[in-house]
């Protein structure tokens, strides 16, 4: 019997051992599953694990990454690069003439011709024959409802969506490039002050035909070399003041950088068909205010009241455009 009893004890002992081993194996398996689950989640989303550890979220059975707070949403669309004011407005699909319904055109007789002959049929004509950047704020050359205004005063009478500035031909005889630049900067400041929500376009100067001009007037101080310097200066103004630069020059210059004879009789003022080409260029070179200033209107700078004046030492003072 004892032998039997001992045999039963041995058998019971083996049974217990087996249960213990099974329990250890089960515990080890559970620990392994727990470890693997945690380790896997931490590897896949280290940030989530980090956030989870910091926030204290999760169940008692281990961290659950599905309950973690998402990181701040970042737009899938790439942010547009800032507008490059050092470059001319690029070509794009043409706008309708109605685009110019809320536009004002400040310029000289060339602009006056543009408003009459291009077929634009809309927009405010604030051009004055013979006007120059040096006298833009001085001469009351515009009559509106019986009152006399300077172009800049007239510009302040109501709000516009676009301002087109085309000035420089009447200044070509002046030997004062620095003064031209400074006066132009001051004019842009003033335009922005009275029209803070408008797209300001500086138009480059359309070339002249020197031979035609000489034949028509007897004067030879109107040169495309100087005109191109003014265009460079205006492009610098556009970059400094963060306004749009429209390179109309490229639509007219021939291989010598001159205005072709067929565009003008006197080498300066454009024929009707040429004015229509000018309009076509403006229609295909536009830019939105939001594109220029995605963060809102640029700050208004108080214009310098007295930048350098003109030096007319090399000109006879008579105007051309």
């Amino acid at each position: 019997m004892p032998g039997n009893y001992q045999g039963k004890r041995v058998a019971r002992s083996h049974k217990v051992t087996m249960i213990v081993i099974a329990a250890v194996v089960a515990a080890a398996a559970a620990a392994a599953i727990f470890f693997l689950k945690y380790y896997d989640g931490a590897e896949k989303n280290p940030d989530a694990a980090h956030i989870g550890s910091g926030s204290g979220a999760g169940s008692a059975s281990g961290p659950d990454v599905s309950t973690f707070q998402d990181p701040p949403k970042v737009s899938d669309e790439p942010k547009a690069p800032p507008y490059d004011f050092s470059q001319p407005v690029p070509e794009r699909e043409p706008v309708e003439n109605s685009y110019f319904d809320d536009a004002a055109f400040v310029g000289d007789s060339r602009t006056d011709g543009f408003m009459l002959y291009s077929g634009i049929g809309t927009g405010e004509n604030l051009a004055a024959n013979g006007v120059s950047i040096f006298r833009l704020a001085e001469r009351k050359s515009l009559t509106i409802d019986g009152e006399k205004y300077t172009p800049l005063e007239a510009l302040a009478l109501k709000q516009y969506g676009k301002i087109y500035i085309a000035l420089g031909v009447n200044e070509l005889g002046y030997n004062n490039d620095k003064g031209y630049y400074e006066k132009f900067c001051a004019a842009v400041d003033e335009v922005r002050r009275v029209q803070p929500n408008a797209v300001i376009y500086i138009q480059s100067l359309i070339p002249v035909n020197e031979a035609q001009y000489l034949a028509a007037t007897g004067h030879d101080y109107l040169t495309n070399d100087h005109l191109r310097i003014y265009n460079q200066l205006m492009q610098q103004v556009a970059e400094e003041k963060k306004v749009a630069y429209v390179n109309v020059y490229e639509a007219f210059a021939d291989e010598n950088g001159s205005l072709p004879e067929g565009d003008s009789r006197d080498g300066v003022h454009l024929y009707k068909e040429s004015c229509q080409r000018w309009l076509e260029y403006l229609r295909t070179h536009t830019v939105e205010f939001d594109t220029l200033y995605p963060d809102g209107p640029p700050p208004v700078e108080v214009p310098d009241p007295e930048p350098a004046g003109p030096d007319t030492s090399t000109a006879d003072g008579s105007g051309q455009g």
């Binding site: 060339r110 004055a128 013979g130 050359s141 009789r265």
Partner: protein
């Protein structure tokens, strides 16, 4: 009495029609502008402008109490800018409106004289502006700024 009033009204209307563009009224005609150009009144080939542009952008007739529909017809030839030469005939709907348009054209020419003299701009053209011929016949207005004013007048007289 009623019959008499009707006859008088018809007569007045008839006279009014004659005064504003009847075939033999002697008023200026849009074709006169081309006649002036062909007669050599201008020193260059001028550009043609449409009535809408002439009414608003060029002569600003709305500032003189005129509505676009008051301008019945017109012909405008104008320099692209090399000179101040210009030939215009405006046909209005009444003599009163023709007088308003005449005032607008006089101010337009004076404005050009002032601007050119102020800026020393195209001074050689100022005498042409000062010699500008502006005249009203019935409901029509003629304006000429010419290189050869006599040739212009002769061309118009020959047609009217």
């Amino acid at each position: 009495m009623k019959k008499l009033l009707t006859i008088m009204l018809a007569l007045a209307l008839s006279l009014g029609m004659t005064a504003c563009g009847g075939k033999d009224s002697g008023d200026y005609k849009p074709a006169d502008v081309q006649a002036m150009a062909e007669a050599g009144a201008f020193s260059e080939t001028l550009e043609e402008l449409d009535a809408d542009t002439a009414f608003s952008a060029l002569y600003r007739l709305e500032s003189y109490g005129l509505a676009r529909e008051d301008l019945k017809d017109c012909a405008v030839l104008r320099s692209a800018g090399a000179t101040c030469e210009e030939g215009t005939v405006l046909v209005l709907d009444s003599e009163a409106h023709a007088k308003d348009a005449q005032k607008a054209l006089e101010d337009y020419v004076q404005g050009q004289i002032d601007a050119n003299e102020d800026y020393g701009y195209r001074l050689a053209e100022v005498p042409k502006l000062k010699d500008a011929y502006i005249d009203v016949k019935g409901c029509t207005v003629l304006m000429v700024v010419a290189n050869d004013l006599e040739a212009a007048k002769k061309a118009v007289d020959g047609k009217s």
